[in-house]
Subunit: 425 residues, 4 copies
């Protein structure tokens, strides 16, 4: 049955993309990926969850994940996210977009293809800014999917949406750095394979606003690293990945653990967040497409008050509105991707900010309509709607809340008029 | 600290109610209840959750709950929901409204006061339609809070929003009834104290549309009652209460287990749902108030981009909009309560339908704004926002989805014009 | 035919009000008013417009208006707005609310009953703060409906939402005041019967923030008063009333033209705006009710794609949503009125701000749905929808834009928590 | 000053379009058109209105219009809308899109470039389906801008959103056709240069659903053509263009006045509406861009409560939301245009339906925010916001109301799942 459904998806995706002229290479990757999703990923979503529940602890790796990863590698669907062709697939953002969207349809898919956050962002950081030693030690096993990593930036005690608020300290002491601070939402730290954290903190609180921060590599087995607890998201533990609150208590790492150099934390974050954000958006569009698909399937089967739900005007309104929202969000995401590829992440920052606002919000709306159409089944885990919803909800906060992005967009929008005002005075 | 906060709440609630002229008796109950919440309930929310997590299984009763229930009884805060003065507090809906709202502020509170669904609805059914024997056997221990109960109506295989779709059967066989059917979202069946289910099914599929259904009492230890699994709600298991999928497989109960008589299922459901719906709405308003309180507290403490969040225009817009939504929803709920008390549940059905749509939706919006304002903390369980949100989301579906109520409102609204059309033809 | 429709309205209104216990006196006024509307006002809406269009200029008074006013006086439906029982009907705000709502259903009705803005506000100012001479000269003929008046506060060159921005000056010069300034949106100045303006300006720019402003009476025939043009509202000229841009150019008035005393402009404005705002809200609810009535009538008659519009789900959703919005807005308006009557305009300022935001917005939404349901007819003047819409749209700006009221609500909402923060530090 | 502003617009537009690879030819047309708008069109908006108001009747042609038309012809900015290269500019829809958007910024611009509805649609019909004689007689002077035309389809007595409801009749009688019917919203019939109507009516009510209708050419001076009145739109008369109610009373035209052949009315309408709809959408995006520009300019100049409006969070939220909505709507419109060009209007019908819903709605929202930001000025005609708003509002109804398009989208969306259901049964 899924095979048929996938054909629908394929045609649909094929048509949407057309004005961005995908090469035969990308179209082939799309086809391979869709087939892989149907044959391997979707059928194993339940298996994955069952293995997790049957294990002694949910904080362990379901064997089916490693099997799927092996298959994905063999199918050439590995590290597609990485634009660098030495280490990864060497695709542009525009080329990766339709592939990443497909992965986003399943909660377990990104890891299968070694394209899951926060590893993708961490790997990019290491490719761009890592030393030869850092690459050998951490990038290599990450690229192989042998280990996982986390990213410690957000702090519980301050409004982290304003990065200058960050309080963790990274102090030079001889040939070591001493890291102190309380971090939370260090996603992925629950995974038993997670070995390394990239930690953001202040090396110099006296420096200028954007040069106070640095990033440093902290192996999770370093003395002083205490995982205090795993934070739930709307009731989901997201095991075995998880979201950790971590206490870094006088953690000592050698001085060559610093990334790039002191004071570059903010610059690295900016570079890291652009692609990270657009990947989230692509996946969210995939999640929204899957929700609309579940909705459409269901409403044709259920009958209430003498007609199928599909024949009811309000349901039709939801379907049309969802399709309109998805189409528009996808086009804007592709435009942002295209701009990142052609004029650079910096010139594309307004577009990146726009999709970062749009994608989670439309995904939430489409998911919510699907939940409502499915009734009680929608809020349970019999369908992937509630879980996708909870995830999408966090993405209105993660990597900057909507409001911060909107404020940034407005300022960019107003800038030319400021100049105009100056000229006409 | 909470004591201060409660004074605020109290004044606020006092002021809102004034045009509905609460008697000194009710005002005193409000004060007692608010004090009880602050001294006993709020401080034990974490204790409750900890005891649940430390127990061998989450499907057990945290001892603190029974202690709180004992205190509530002693404080005279017991069975306030029951308008019948022989068995309960004998309050009108209008009188119960501000009390129920206060209980709704805490997830664990309704049970503390023996005012939790679905027991309240089930007790009302037994008070109104139960035989002397049924009352002695089931109502008495329910009123004492010794046992709990569930309600089996929704089915997985049909659109249960249209009650005529229900497929479970209750067949007379000698001096027994045989119950067959698959039910889900039988809330409360996970509780080890849950002993009795009220099951809805068809006794006569050939009868007229509204007389096919009956309700019957099924002790959960009857052979053939199989609890298949507990359904999560957005990742929450809602243990130890839970939402069960139950297979009733040739379950035999004596013929005097029928409630009222054969064919009265629909009539009982209508009577049961009116008060049940308005209680949900009152509690949702309480949840929204608490969310707004958490939001207001937090935004005064957090600083981003040089000012507190409280000073930022968008946050102020959220606060104002939330206050406006809550005020309007409360007034409409009070009006519905007043009408139920004075002209009856049937004459109040448009108003009941209206609040059933309004209350969950505004609660979700207020909760969502609070979550956004709190950032990552909001989606976790460090605050009662995500849990309240998940609960409120189910209430756009439970007891009829929004769309069914809206359609009913529209039809009532259109009716006078139909007559007018007929007259003017 | 209308008689039948009115019965519907009457029953509906009667029911909504019941928990506010209207006396027999008010119920009788309601009945009389509804009959008057149906027999005299609605049938003459077209006549009024035709007389206006046939006159030499639209800036003249259609004779039917004076006839209707005479009838209203005779029916005892005159000056109902004025709480002062010496000069007016002596009704409370709560008592006036359902009557004002009914008047709001027709664009021409408020004037018929001498309850039209800005005269109502101006009369209240004169009753409260006017000297004996000012009352004799201006209040008496206004109360009789012999002359009309305007209010000159808003200015074209500054953001008048912040009253301290006002630039007009009122300078003492011997026993005269000299008024200078450009005002616009001086509504009613187009009316040939309009003889007097209340003008707001600064008597002392050096005084403290709220004592710089004064109000002064300026007869429109004073030399230096130049009506520059009449401003349209979404294409409507609102003749013969109109919205004037007025240049006050060295206008000299005697010193006893000042109202109350120098520096009281802000205080008078505050007192004037409370009742003025709530009247607008009551009328907007009436406009929304009429829109819903037009919608309901129409959708039962029109057929598209094989069913009446009334049978289509989306239309039903609009009807239900509209009813819900209207009910809630009315209850909040009544609560605000009740508070103004019982605890005073100042204590009710949060509630007044809330309805000032709610009423125009819900009226716009209900009107917009009705327009959409009526199709092309809806945007024309064959129905009173487009005209009511344009008027309601201005009321999101007049007497303070939504955003200013919301900000005020938020600040009031946050205040108790500030104290709490102080206490817990 | 405008010159500077235009540069901003140009850069912005240039950037938005880039991924659709505009040729140098189109980029040059954009530049020429933007310059023409700034030098000729914007400065003459007020002149146009003044000439209209000073004329004996508003139903006359302001001389400045004919002057601007002459200049546009000379600048090569003429008939750009027509994809046919024999008669028009021969641009694709994708190429015309950015040009049409620019024209949409000014209410008077489309006529200046001979690109105004309904002439554009009528010309397309004549190019595609007209006989040589029809082309010589009507198309030639329309292409020259010497005469104008109207389109009579909508009827006052039926829900015209369902085209099968149409009641006008076109009966063959000898070598003539007799046309009978009441039409309204025949836009453009107020123009003294308007000489010809295309009228839709039933030639054969017994034929199959989509073959009952025909279109016929009716010169407006034919006996029996009675223009009953001009309909206002939110108070605007839209003179001299106007929206006419026309009574066709036994109007006789020769048999060769039929377009294409009997029974082709529906087919022609479908062909006519696709491009007509997308032109409306392009212009609406231009109107929205202009609104956002007016908003941005204004909020930097006005100060309230100690800061410019531009610094206030809510205003920034409006700007960001507006930019996001416009970007998405433009991309979807371009996609629809691209599909019309490459796979045909029929294959693009879902995309056309989507933009027909999106563009008026986002334009209304952006315009409404700009109105709110400008305050009272926004609802007047000192800025082009209220007029654009009223026009955009009609476009949620014209060429099919939102609801009809959404229903069509939903059905197209559901279709693949119907097949899937069939396959899996």
């Amino acid at each position: 049955m899924l095979r048929v459904s996938s054909t629908i998806s394929f045609l649909k995706i094929g048509r949407d993309m057309m004005n961005f002229d995908y090469t035969e290479k990308i179209q082939k990757l799309q086809r391979t990926l869709i087939e892989f999703m149907e044959e391997i990923v979707y059928p194993n979503e339940k298996t994955y969850e069952e293995q997790l529940n049957c294990a002694e602890s949910r904080w362990s790796i379901p064997p089916v994940m490693e099997e799927m990863k092996q298959s994905a590698k063999e199918a050439g669907l590995w590290n597609l996210f990485l634009p660098d062709s030495e280490y990864g697939a060497g695709l542009t953002n525009l080329e990766y977009a339709p592939l990443c969207e497909i992965m986003g349809r399943s909660f377990i898919a990104p890891e299968v293809f070694n394209c899951a956050a926060p590893d993708t962002g961490n790997m990019e950081v290491l490719v761009r800014y890592g030393t030869r030693e850092q690459k050998d030690r951490w990038l290599a096993p990450l690229l192989e999917g042998e280990i996982r990593s986390c990213f410690s930036m957000t702090e519980p005690d301050v409004a982290s949406s304003d990065a200058t608020n960050i309080e963790a300290s990274i102090e030079r002491n001889g040939d070591e750095y001493v890291v102190n601070g309380r971090k939370w939402w260090s996603s992925g730290a629950g995974d038993p394979r997670c070995q390394i954290a990239i930690v953001m903190g202040k090396t110099n609180p006296e420096a200028s606003r954007y040069e106070q921060q640095s990033m440093i590599l902290v192996p999770l087995d370093t003395p002083g690293v205490h995982i205090k607890r795993m934070l739930p998201v709307f009731g989901y533990d997201h095991a075995p990945h998880g979201h950790a609150e971590i206490d870094y208590d006088h953690v000592r790492v050698p001085s060559d653990a610093i990334i790039w150099e002191e004071g570059k934390g903010f610059a690295i974050a900016q570079g890291r967040l652009g692609p990270g954000r657009i990947h989230h958006c692509m996946r969210l569009i995939g999640a929204a497409e899957r929700a609309l698909e579940e909705l459409c399937k269901r409403v044709q089967k259920r009958v209430a008050f003498g007609k199928t739900l599909a024949q009811q005007g309000v349901i039709q309104d939801w379907i049309a509105t969802s399709r309109i929202e998805i189409e528009q969000a996808r086009l804007l995401t592709l435009k942002a991707a295209y701009m990142m590829d052609t004029v650079g992440n910096k010139a594309a920052k307004k577009e990146i900010a726009m999709i970062k606002v749009v994608a989670p919000n439309i995904a939430l709306q489409v998911l919510d309509r699907a939940i409502q159409a499915l009734g009680a089944a929608g809020v349970s885990d019999d369908f992937p709607l509630a879980a996708h919803w909870a995830n999408a909800r966090t993405l209105r906060l993660a990597d900057g809340p909507d409001e911060v992005h909107k404020s940034a967009i407005a300022k960019m929008e107003l800038k030319p008029y400021e100049k105009l005002n100056a000229l006409t005075k």
